[in-house]
């Protein structure tokens, strides 16, 4: 018997337990990706049952199917265009009335629907009884009781879904929402008009008529796309009817229809629900008495955030070191296995070092995503947005933007990925654009060296000022973009505060791993290519003419030392060896400095030197900044190489070399400002592209670099005007 394939879509309100049901149904066999063109997570899983191969698709959680939010558009388009065999609507039994609003809209879509009445145990304990047979009869929809977190009812759910898919009867029309006389008349007339004018309408005509009366933009566009001529006539007819209805009700028809849907639902509720609970008298409310308390709410919030930071960047630090050691070991092994030469350098300094620098973030990211999953699954995320919204709203952002921005001080990569928790795409893009101005931890070594060398006792204050500048610029940027590029009404802050729930370990782990896997897959590729490019630029051309013959000089130094050693005794011999080693490493460093100077990146650095000149940054600084694109830590090591000053083991030496090379406190400050603001590192850039689009990534690079140049210019030239140096 050939295996039959069925597609089952899960729909439902956020917090209705949809994800739990999905995890129960599919186990760990899930595929996480994005819906085409948008960054809404798409989850798919496969189950075999009774000879059927079932594909379960988890739709985004929504309260409605009006195309306002991106989630709603995604969910609705899927139902309309992909036509799943069955839609399971997960209904939160303790929130029956509101759940039914989405349910009636799904019913109107004319597809086969099955209700999963979830968490009826909780509703029962709160004194609500739901008459499921009655509900099933009134809406003509099969109803299955489920308790997601105890895995009850899952088999029944799949069984019923298969039966429904195989049943020949089309979804009944009679038990859908019936609107008031005037609206039904308008729907009827529009339907008639459509059937008369054009045979092949893209969707069910009653549904289209309803949507046209609601002035649904997407349906209007699709109608015109499907039938340009008649489509426009139909739109005109719909507009006339809308005007008529608006006069008749003294209200926008879509508002009237929303009202009437709820009226229809109220009727059902009266028949199926025995007691309406007015208030949530439960543990959740008591927890909120503390967690969103007028005085204690903020300190507790700050503590949780602090704890998350600590966990992410200290607990995560141990595995980071192990991975670092592993990467070092690998590069050592590769180094030992291959002869010295270009291939070894490519693998060790390019591929292993570059990819290793990203893999290193994995533990941090795992811990961070675990914490975020914990916040989300318990329900605390909504409370943190509730607490912070007043402050974030000043920048034109949503309360939920706070966490990604804060994470930015640690590392921008997880921060940008944390912006996924924002529902509105505009908020998400704006948050992603301003997060790189939060000075990440990799930039700190640059500040420490520059401020340490040039500002002495004031170094701490200067560094704090740099951080502050980043915050101020993010606020300014937020306000500017909100009123220009990403204009449009703020997403209304109509947000449910779901009851606190005990998180389930399995769901937390799945959540954490899914997101981290995305990080590895996508970052890996970009970083690999990027590292190879930067490596090539700084290592080619190979055979440059150097001013001195370093190999010969090194050989001479070694030979002299060897001959001196032959005549010297114990302590004298050690001294000679040390001297010789020192001389050789100095020569090597100078050789490297000279080679880097002549490499492509060095040439590019000198070519772009005029761009950096007005900022008081010399060409070495320019090259260091360019190489910092791979990772900001590299700025320091490149400066070290170019000034032949060695690296971190002698920080003071680099400072002295910079002073000797003519850097002044003012140009150091200008450089710090530039480092704070300019283009995000490769990993961050890849994250931005992954979470938004190539266009926004390019914009982000251009914008941040322009701001960096502008601010550094103001600092340097302004400082000179006021007589600083």
């Amino acid at each position: 018997m050939p295996i039959k394939c069925l597609v089952i879509a899960l729909a439902g309100n956020p917090n209705a337990g949809k994800t739990t049901v999905f995890n129960n149904l599919t186990g760990t066999r899930q595929k996480v990706g994005n819906w085409p063109g948008v960054t809404v997570e798409k989850k798919e899983g496969h189950v075999s049952r009774n000879g059927y191969d079932l594909t379960i698709v988890d739709l985004p959680g929504t309260y409605s199917l009006t195309p306002f939010s991106i989630e709603e558009v995604v969910a609705r388009n899927y139902l309309l265009d992909e036509r799943p065999d069955v839609v399971i609507d997960i209904i939160d039994a303790s929130n029956l009335e509101r759940s039914l609003y989405l349910a009636t809209q799904i019913r109107e879509l004319d597809c086969k629907v099955l209700f999963a009445l979830n968490m009826a145990d909780i509703a029962g304990s709160r004194g609500t009884k739901i008459d499921a047979p009655k509900l099933s009869e009134l809406l003509d929809v099969p109803v299955v009781f489920t308790v997601g977190n105890r895995k009850e009812g899952m088999d029944d759910l799949l069984q019923q879904a298969i039966e429904l898919a195989e049943s020949a009867t089309p979804a009944a029309r009679t038990r859908q929402v019936k609107y008031s006389h005037d609206i039904e008349e308008a729907i009827g007339r529009l339907q008639e008009f459509m059937e008369m004018k054009a045979g092949g309408m893209p969707y069910d005509t009653r549904w289209m008529a309803i949507k046209l009366l609601e002035d649904d933009k997407i349906v209007k566009e699709r109608l015109v796309a499907a039938a340009p001529e008649t489509g426009r006539q139909i739109l005109q007819a719909a507009q006339a009817l809308r005007t008529h209805l608006t006069q008749r009700f003294d209200e926008d028809p879509q508002i009237v229809m929303t009202d009437e849907r709820y009226g229809f639902i109220a009727g059902i509720i009266r028949e199926v629900q025995s007691a309406t609970v007015q208030q949530r008298v439960d543990i959740s409310r008591n927890i909120d008495l503390v967690l969103t308390h007028r005085l204690f709410g903020f300190p507790i919030f700050v503590f949780f955030i602090w704890a998350m930071f600590q966990l992410t960047f200290t607990l995560g630090e141990y595995p980071v070191q192990w991975i670092g050691a592993g990467v070092d070991g690998l590069s050592g092994a590769v180094g030992a296995a291959l002869p010295e030469g270009i291939l070894r350098s490519l693998l060790v300094d390019g591929v292993v070092a570059g990819v290793g620098s990203v893999i290193k973030f994995l533990p941090n990211i795992l811990v961070l995503f675990f914490c975020i999953a914990l916040f989300e699954d318990t329900g605390y995320m909504a409370r943190s947005a509730f607490l912070m919204d007043r402050i974030m709203h000043l920048i034109g952002l949503h309360g939920k933007s706070f966490i990604p921005m804060l994470m930015g001080f640690g590392c921008n990569v997880p921060a940008i990925m944390a912006a996924r928790t924002l529902e509105s795409e505009k908020d998400r893009i704006l948050t992603i654009l301003i997060t790189p101005f939060m000075s990440c931890s990799a930039k700190l070594p640059v500040y420490v060296i520059l401020a340490g060398a040039f500002f002495g006792a004031q170094a701490g204050t200067v560094i704090f000022g740099i951080y502050l500048l980043g915050v101020v610029l993010s606020i300014v940027t937020g306000r500017i973009f909100r009123s220009t590029l990403l204009k449009g009404a703020d997403a209304p802050f109509v947000m449910e505060l779901p009851p606190y729930r005990m998180p389930m370990a399995k769901s937390l782990l799945i959540h954490m791993w899914d997101r981290s896997k995305l990080f590895l897959q996508k970052m890996g590729k970009v970083i690999l290519v990027g590292s190879i490019v930067i490596w090539s630029l700084s290592n080619f051309p190979r055979d440059v003419a150097t001013s001195r013959d370093y190999a010969a000089e090194i050989a001479r130094v070694t030979a002299t030392a060897d001959s001196q050693k032959a005549t010297a005794d114990g302590s004298e011999r050690r001294r000679i060896e040390e001297q010789a080693a020192q001389a050789v490493s100095d020569l090597r460093r100078e050789q490297m400095a000279e080679q880097t100077r002549q490499s492509y990146i060095g040439r590019i650095g000198r070519f772009v030197a005029p761009i950096f000149a007005p900022l008081g940054i010399d060409w070495q600084g320019g090259v260091a900044l360019l190489s910092g694109f791979v990772a900001k830590e590299i700025v320091v090591s490149t400066l070290g190489v170019l000034h032949a000053a060695g690296e971190s083991d002698e920080e003071g030496a680099l400072g002295k070399a910079l002073i000797a090379a003519g850097m002044t406190p003012l140009s150091a400050l200008s450089m710090m400002v530039f480092v704070l603001l300019y283009l995000p590192c490769l990993a961050t850039t890849a994250a931005i592209r992954r979470e938004t689009s190539t266009r926004w990534m390019v914009f982000s690079i251009g914008y941040s670099t322009a701001v960096a140049w502008g601010m550094a210019f103001v600092v340097y030239q302004g400082g000179r005007l006021f007589g600083f140096s």
Partner: protein, 75 residues
């Protein structure tokens, strides 16, 4: 009286919802309709947004948004 003028712990009945269409529809879709009972559970520590109880569940709304909702029968 406006919903945004209610004090913590007060309840009222919704009379009318104003404001621009998108916001209005969002509020309606969440079940805040004419005739619905709302209770102001609390204000956030910075006095904005506010937490309401409607139809047995908790929802938060900015004070500015609640300013579009007319209520009476305050108690």
């Amino acid at each position: 009286m406006l919903l945004s003028e209610l004090k913590e712990g007060q309840s009222a009945t919704v009379v009318r919802i104003g404001g621009e269409s998108l916001l209005r529809r969002r509020i309606l879709e969440m079940g805040i309709l004419r005739g619905a009972e709302v209770r102001v559970e609390k204000y956030a520590p910075l006095k904005d947004p506010m937490e309401l109880i409607v139809k047995g569940y908790h929802i938060s709304l900015r004070v500015e948004e609640a300013g579009h909702i007319l209520v009476d029968n305050v108690r």
